[in-house]
Symmetry: C2
Subunit: 221 residues, 2 copies
């Protein structure tokens, strides 16, 4: 009895291949589970770091006193606007991280349940659903990182010509937390991309052309 549950005549290469595939399957399932758990943890961490970025509240208080009367207060308004923009961009990242964390948690549960049952994913509809979900999540994460990392560059470099301040010099805590959040989300998105590759493998192998090892060789002999 082979791993595939099909009786195979002795001497057939498929037996060896079945054992090899079984090993690959196990490792892949474990890798997938670890990656999905990592996405959940990292995305949640990123979300917490960005949401609890309290130092920003100080700037909002300062801004309320600032008026368009002199250059200095204008700079404060610009600083507020800049931080507000950073927060707005981070909002997209926060929402994406939240969705990624919940999605990956549910998928992790599915992985564990699948492992406990011990069966390989054979249902094409389910495989398509998982593949589509993973692809969407992976591209969404990468897009959120791309949008957020730009604001990080402005925060560090500033815009001298416009007297846009280097927010990171003025508000170190805000910047460090933000950077931590973005770094965490970045790692989560890398893990998500790898997961999407695994789910693509799980789906498309079901369409195996079997051209690599002609299945009916024994019959032809």
């Amino acid at each position: 009895m082979s791993y595939l549950g099909v009786g195979i005549s002795p001497g057939n290469v498929a037996l060896y291949h079945g054992g090899k595939m079984k090993l690959i399957d196990r490792r892949l399932r474990l890798t997938e589970l670890l990656l999905r758990c990592s996405v959940t943890a990292l995305a949640f961490l990123g979300l917490i770091l960005i949401v609890t970025d309290t130092q920003v509240k100080q700037i909002f208080t300062i801004e309320k006193r600032a008026k368009y009367t002199n250059m200095k207060s204008l700079v404060l308004v610009i600083a507020h606007q800049q931080v507000h923009n950073l927060r707005e961009r981070d909002l997209f990242l926060v929402v994406t991280n939240g969705i990624a964390a919940v999605y990956s948690l549910l998928q992790s549960v599915r992985c564990v349940m699948g492992s406990m049952k011990g069966d390989v994913l054979l249902n094409k509809s389910l495989a398509w659903a998982i593949f589509s979900g993973d692809q969407a999540m992976a591209y969404m994460s990468v897009a959120a990182i791309a949008a957020a990392s730009e604001s990080g560059v402005i925060g560090i470099r500033g815009e001298e010509e416009l007297q846009w301040m280097k927010v990171c010099n003025m508000f170190g805590k805000f910047c460090n937390r933000g950077a931590g959040g973005v770094a965490s989300a970045m790692l989560a998105s890398v893990a998500m991309v790898l997961v999407s590759c695994i789910s693509a493998f799980s789906l498309f192998r079901l369409y195996g052309a079997t051209t690599q090892r002609p299945p009916n060789l024994a019959v032809v002999k």
Copy 2:
């Protein structure tokens, strides 16, 4: 003689399956070629539209006369800075579009040559190379769009609180060309994502588990 080039005993289901796979393969190859050509054309169009956005030059001339003496000239400086930022972001999109156009052109040539030879992709190393390249291009395109579309929103909405102008009201031609370029790049990235799915299919089917239709059924009989 089946499509796979392997003699198959009569009555085996693999014959029917081989014919079906042949049809799917042909359609898939055609779809892939069309998508890759679309990416080349759309990415190139996007690049041209953004690079030839000449109206910006006028703003640079105005900006040179502007100084920090009054509010009005400051607004002009901000306008310049804003447009400069838009251009900077678009630069990433331009570079990405250029790479995508050249990459897809080369891949299209490979597709045509493969079709002329008439063989299916069986080389795992080549399939891995194509898969990796396509994945990288797809994620890069989506990231570039995410970064650029944000600048588009600022251009249309403006930032009233900071007196950031609605660039689209002031410089219609600049905005229309830019929007055209981003839209073109967006379509190219959608096509690129679909291409990456096809190359994932082409790669991972080579690892087909063949659990759906036990290959040695005839032997067992």
